[in-house]
């Protein structure tokens, strides 16, 4: 299983093996990662699963949809060039080793 590392705002990090086929948000929630809320359940409606993707990896992802792009303008913490909604990133072998930084706030 691909592993994904969550970097908390306080500098601590957690790494989990996450099954392929679920979203990074679902994988985070299933492992009780506190910094991901996922209020709408992964429908790309709420922008509470905001993450900053490691700069060297962001370009290798499929491009974001117009919907995700719009929602990122509504995140509680500032949007950056490497901002993504983790409910829209599918866990595959290709994202193994991914490091995502969690923002200060999701709400």
């Amino acid at each position: 299983m691909p592993n994904i590392t969550f970097l908390n705002p306080d500098g601590s990090r957690q790494t989990f093996d996450i099954a392929e086929g679920v979203s990074v948000m679902q994988g985070a929630v299933a492992n009780s990662v506190g910094g991901i809320v996922g209020e709408c359940g992964g429908n790309a409606m709420c922008a509470t699963c905001h993450v900053y993707v490691d700069g060297s990896q962001v370009a290798s992802f499929p491009p974001m949809s117009a919907n995700e792009d719009a929602l990122l303008d509504g995140t509680a913490s500032d949007r950056k060039p490497n901002s993504r909604l983790s409910c829209q990133i599918l866990v595959t072998e290709a994202v193994g080793g991914l490091v995502v930084e969690l923002p200060e706030r999701q709400i």
Binding site: V29, S32, C40, N67, A70, G74
Partner: protein, 407 residues
């Protein structure tokens, strides 16, 4: 709260679960008991009418958290129904006869479906609120070819889309004259009517079910409409609204008026009892009268607000209401309370499948209804949260960039 006087939460839906979670995130160290009267670990409801019915029936994605979370976080799940509150002794009585002492009690008891009262055989009408009833519906859908939906509200229409996607023929019966009449402006109703009709849904407006009888073939039913029309169907699903669960509060002498009445701090008329979620009527800066709101946003924001108060960081509940509904490939997002709308401004056009209705009372922006236009929704949310407005002429101008209002 000590082990002898725990914090007791009645109801493990979105509000009850989120309260337990938010308390632990706020470093609340006391005992938490979560009374859950459903046969499943706490789960999310919005996917029931959509992803769950479409999918393979896997329950794991519905769970708020895996089972281990509850023991790790010392959130004790108590499988029971709360039957009575003894406010003097600060105890609740549970369905099995056991009693539970509380230091503080939170009612997150939700709402239940209004039931269709027309004459019908027991068990022939399906509802979509709990996982148990939706699981039963999912099973029945396997052998159905025609379904009839009573009520053209959010749940009925989400289900109608799901059923069409699964290849079923769908009829929708609505007492009113348009879709989602109590929740949205006519512009939105009209758009969704066209979308659902184009996907093959048949609508019957201004009529109701007079009765449902067995007939029309093996396991089928015949629905008689009030005007005499008849529909033969395999399955009937009703989504005709909900009633708040107020009996527990009312029988304990708490003030109830269309819901459990709470103040801006989400306290009931008893300082030792708070209430949150679909079951409460509460004051809000976004309406002139106290309101009751059925939404995930309201349930979870009230839970977070109350959690903060219970750890001594209280502030009045002032969250901006927002809602969403997925119907087929269309996303409807609503922000604000728009009942008092007297003027609407269209941004974008329904013909392109992407537009918003800006709702005003005079020149004051009350809220925005967006269809496949998430940018209007998220920017609108930020503007309204700041107490701002959008000039109606600017809202109607497609070249005006809303985001600039946030700078």
């Amino acid at each position: 709260m000590t082990e002898a006087n725990p914090l007791v939460i009645v109801g493990a839906g979105h509000a009850g679960f989120q309260l337990a979670l938010a308390l632990r995130q706020n470093h609340y160290d006391g005992s938490i008991k979560l009374v859950n009267n459903e046969p499943y670990a706490p789960y999310q409801r919005p996917p029931l009418s959509k992803a769950y019915l479409k999918g393979d029936g896997n329950l794991a994605p519905l769970a708020f958290r895996p089972k281990a979370f509850f023991s790790e976080q010392r959130i004790e799940l108590i499988p029971a129904k709360a039957e009575a509150i003894d406010r003097g002794k600060k105890k609740i009585r549970l369905s099995a006869g056991a009693e539970l002492q509380y230091g503080h009690l939170v009612l997150a008891v939700g709402a239940r479906n209004r039931e269709l009262r027309s004459p019908h055989e027991e068990g022939c009408i399906h509802y979509i609120r709990t996982l148990a009833e939706t699981a039963r519906l999912k099973e029945r859908l396997l052998s159905a070819r025609h379904v009839t939906v009573v009520g053209a509200g959010f749940i009925g229409l989400e289900f109608a889309s799901t059923a069409r996607l699964k290849g079923l023929t769908v009829d929708v019966i609505e007492l009113g004259q348009r879709l989602m009449e109590r929740a949205v402006t006519p512009e939105i109703s009209q758009f969704f009517l066209r979308r659902h009709e184009r996907s093959g849904v048949n609508f019957h407006f201004g009529t109701e079910v007079a009765g449902i009888e067995r007939g029309g073939g093996d396991g089928r039913y015949t629905i008689a409409l009030a005007q005499g029309k008849k529909i033969e169907t395999d399955l009937v699903v009703a989504g005709i609204g909900v009633n708040p669960n107020t009996e527990l509060a009312a029988s304990a002498g708490l003030v109830v008026n269309g819901g459990i009445l709470v103040d801006q701090n989400l306290s009931t008329s008893d300082a030792n009892i708070s209430a949150i979620g679909d079951c409460v009527v509460f004051p809000t800066p976004y309406a002139t009268k106290p309101v009751r709101i059925e939404s995930v946003q309201n349930a979870t924001d009230q839970a977070r607000c109350l959690a903060a108060r219970l750890v001594g960081k209280g502030a009045p509940y002032r969250s901006l209401p927002w809602f969403w509904s997925d119907q087929g490939s269309d996303k409807l997002q609503i922000v604000g309370l728009t009942h008092d709308v007297d003027r609407t401004v269209l941004r974008g056009s329904p013909e392109t499948g992407s537009f918003s209705v800006f709702c005003y009372a005079g020149d004051r922006l009350l809220g925005i209804e967006s269809v496949n236009r998430p940018a209007d929704h998220v920017v609108g949310r930020k503007i309204l949260e700041r107490g701002g407005s959008v000039d109606p002429n600017a809202a109607a101008d497609p070249d005006f960039v809303l985001k600039t209002l946030l700078e």
